[in-house]
């Protein structure tokens, strides 16, 4: 608007200036015509004088000058204008104001100006400014001047001024409107472009600009819209991707938290509410260490600092976290230091609830412990039973054997000291007492050795059964009609030598003791059967009826009278117990009258065949 006003005043001023200048020109022309008229009158008088040859008669000349003066005075110059004459000496000769005639104006500036050339304005005395035009009339040495007050000349213009002014204002307004309209034509597209850019800047990506026509602006708008399209597409894709990943994170059953350097939570995935009861937003800004169990805090802080120092490491650990209800939950978490990642800028902790797993494990552990406790209880019971048995064995060995020994001693003394008092029958009876006492002692020893199996600590060594069995055969003192030998090779086993000796000793002794053939053969063999060894002791003795295949392994059971074959009835029971102790089995295959084979198995334990 100030600009408009400036233009307005400029135009008004210009108009005024030009109109005034035009008026001056007009006034000058007007004055020129009046001057020409006055000159013509003067010339006519001179001509008249010449015509009548009066040019040298001073009276005639005076007369002519007077006539001319009258005529010139009569010339009308507007309302206030007038014609006057000044002599070359500067004396006013003719002037409508008679008072001024005869005045000397030679000192006036305009007179000097006039003498040297042209004059435009004259004034003296109380005159206001007059516009003037002068001509020098040589015959009479007159300066004829036509003057008119400038007021009169410019009066029109001055009167016209307001009209011009209003006109100028109107014109200016009109011009301004036109200008504004034209400017609008230029600025409107710019404004809409700016507004469009602003809206896009504010995120209104659907903004499009429409500028009709086929100028630079509409082209620019087209380019702008294309750019907006691309931006919107890119942004939509980005938003979709972000949504995609966000939905993965937010629907994951694992908790994802991001911590800053101090452990302050900057993000928590929604699953935290399901698992720990906290609103994710409520946790933001809190320190994660605050909700970790005091017992785990030190460890977690240590891991945190370790990872802070060496970000390449990814650590995984278990820790307890407080649920919003105050209970503790066990989580298993993996953390990754992404503090220096430009976008993440934090620790990413990925944790899952393993409380149930933990509880299940604990329950398992408890039931395990319970089981263990029960086993221990049973073991303790067993131990006490074993102890009782031990004590029982001890008592048996001592308390039962002591009277037995006394009987034996006394019987012996009676038969020695009272030989004469006893007859043959009496001495035989004494012998029978001694034999029964021995048998009783054997039975007691059998029970004791049976009770010792599994009670006495075993000494497991690498035992070459070829050597062991050879020794047993040598010491068995088999009668000459019985041949005992090893069939092939026996293995080396990791067992207690005493136990293995008891096994082979009993089986071989039985085979020899009960041999009823004139050519007795006892063979000891072994073959590998997968994960176990299968041993066999075969004889060609009397054989055992199938009815007794079970009974022979029971304690104190014998198939022949003890007076025939002195036996404790403990041997096979002992063998069976040892074999069972070693997780093997024992059985007999027999054909009565032809012989028997006792088989037993032993699981292999890093053993090798002696031959190998």
């Amino acid at each position: 608007m100030p600009l408009v006003l400036f233009f307005l005043f400029l135009s008004v001023g210009t108009t005024y200036y030009f109109s005034r200048k035009a008026l001056t020109g007009l006034g000058e022309t007007w004055l020129e015509t009046r001057l020409a008229e006055a000159l013509k009158i003067a010339e006519e008088q001179v001509n008249l004088l010449q015509r009548y040859g009066l040019e040298s008669i001073p009276a005639s000349i005076e007369k002519a000058k007077m006539d001319a003066g009258t005529a010139i005075s009569a010339i009308e110059v507007g309302e206030l204008g007038f014609v006057f004459v000044v002599s070359s000496q500067g004396i006013v000769i003719l002037h409508p104001d008679n008072g001024r005639v005869g005045q000397d104006v030679s000192n006036e500036g305009w007179f000097t100006e006039m003498k040297h050339g042209e004059v435009q304005f004259v004034s003296w005395g109380q005159d206001s400014d007059n516009m003037a035009s002068a001509i020098y009339f040589k015959p009479w040495e007159w300066h004829i001047l036509v003057a008119i007050p400038t007021q009169e000349i410019y009066g029109v213009a001055n009167k016209m001024g307001p009209y011009i002014f209003y006109l100028a204002i109107l014109g200016s307004i009109a011009m301004s409107i036109v200008l504004m309209y034209m400017t609008r034509g230029l600025t409107a597209p710019l404004i809409s472009l700016t507004a469009g850019a602003d809206r896009i800047g504010k995120g209104e990506l659907k903004t499009r600009i429409s500028i009709p026509g086929r100028n630079e602006f509409s082209h620019l708008a087209g380019v702008f819209n294309q750019m907006a399209d691309k931006l919107q597409n890119t942004l939509t894709t980005l938003q979709q991707r972000e949504e995609h990943f966000r939905s993965i994170i937010e629907n994951a059953s694992d908790i994802i938290t991001i911590l800053d350097e101090d452990g302050t939570i900057t993000y928590a995935s929604p699953s935290i509410e399901r698992i720990l009861g906290y609103q994710p937003d409520a946790l933001i800004g809190r320190n994660a260490f605050d909700i970790i169990h005091p017992g785990d805090r030190e460890n977690i802080e240590r891991l945190y600092w370790e990872e802070l120092e060496s970000p390449a490491e990814t650590t995984s650990t278990e820790f307890r976290v407080q649920h919003s209800d105050g209970t503790w939950r066990t989580l298993e978490g993996t953390s990754e230091n992404m503090l220096y990642h430009p976008v993440v800028g934090g620790f990413i902790i990925n944790s899952r609830d393993i409380s149930d797993r933990k509880l299940a494990l604990e329950a398992l552990h408890e039931s395990h412990q319970e089981l263990e406790r029960r086993v221990q209880e049973r073991t303790a019971q067993l131990d006490s039973i074993n102890k009782e048995l031990k004590e029982f064995a001890y008592v048996v060995s001592h308390d039962l054997k002591a009277p037995l020994r006394a009987i034996s001693q006394l019987a012996h003394w009676i038969s020695e000291d009272y030989t004469e008092a006893l007859d043959q029958e009496g001495r035989e009876m004494m012998d029978l007492i001694l034999k029964r006492v021995k048998r009783m002692d054997g039975l007691i020893e059998g029970v004791l050795s049976y009770s010792r199996i599994g009670r006495i600590k075993e000494h497991t060594v690498a035992l070459d059964l070829n050597i062991l069995v050879d020794e047993i055969i040598e010491n068995s003192m088999a009668p000459s009609h019985v041949r005992v030998n090893i069939d092939g090779e026996l293995p080396v086993v990791q067992r207690d030598p005493i136990r293995m000796q008891q096994v082979f000793q009993n089986l071989i002794d039985n085979a020899i003791t009960y041999m009823d053939k004139s050519q007795g053969i006892v063979r000891i063999g072994c073959e590998g059967e997968g994960m176990q060894w299968k041993f066999s002791i075969t004889d060609n003795g009397p054989g055992i009826d199938i009815r007794y295949h079970e009974k022979i392994f029971q304690i104190f059971q014998t198939l022949t009278p003890r007076d025939e074959h002195e036996s404790s009835g403990v041997g096979l029971t002992l063998v069976k117990k040892i074999i069972q102790q070693y997780n093997g089995s024992i059985w007999v295959v027999s054909e009565p009258g032809k012989g028997s084979t006792f088989y037993f198995t032993l699981p292999k334990r890093e053993e090798s065949h002696a031959a190998a």
Binding site: S397, H398, K401, L404, R405, A406, Q409, L410, D441, L448
Partner: protein, 137 residues
């Protein structure tokens, strides 16, 4: 060659005492045999000023009042008695009795055989050994 000092037998079984006595007589070992029937009596015997300290103690384990082990422990912690050799003569073949006896300082351990002849052999072997073995005075 025979040491004149006596042998102390700590034995509650009369038949066993008779056996040992008989055995010593049979092989003409003439040391006096003093018999007491339990640990307490044996200690009283040792502490009595009337008795000379025995050259050898034959000790049964299973006895009333103070058993053989208790007696052995007491004797072997007594400065005056611990030099006396104590041979355990018992029915028990139990490992724990054998090792405990030697830990407590027994000089020997013998299981009483059932057979009288074997019994005599055992007693004689012990007696002969301790007759030959040098002992501190």
């Amino acid at each position: 060659m025979l040491r004149p000092r006596n042998i102390l037998l700590v034995e509650d079984d009369r038949v066993d005492s008779m056996t040992i006595k008989r055995a010593l007589e049979e092989v003409e070992i003439n040391n006096r045999l003093d018999t007491v029937s339990n640990g307490e009596e044996a200690l009283a015997y040792l502490l009595s000023a009337e008795n000379e300290l025995p050259a050898l103690i034959l000790l049964d384990l299973n006895m009333p009042r103070m058993n053989g082990m208790e007696f052995l422990r007491t004797v072997k912690t007594h400065a005056g008695f611990k030099k006396i050799p104590v041979v355990v003569l018992t029915t028990s073949r139990a490992d724990q009795d054998i090792s405990a006896s030697f830990e407590l300082g027994a000089a020997g351990y013998m299981v009483k055989p059932l057979d009288y002849r074997e019994f005599i052999e055992a007693v004689v072997t012990i007696a002969r050994y301790w007759q030959l073995s040098e002992l501190p005075e």
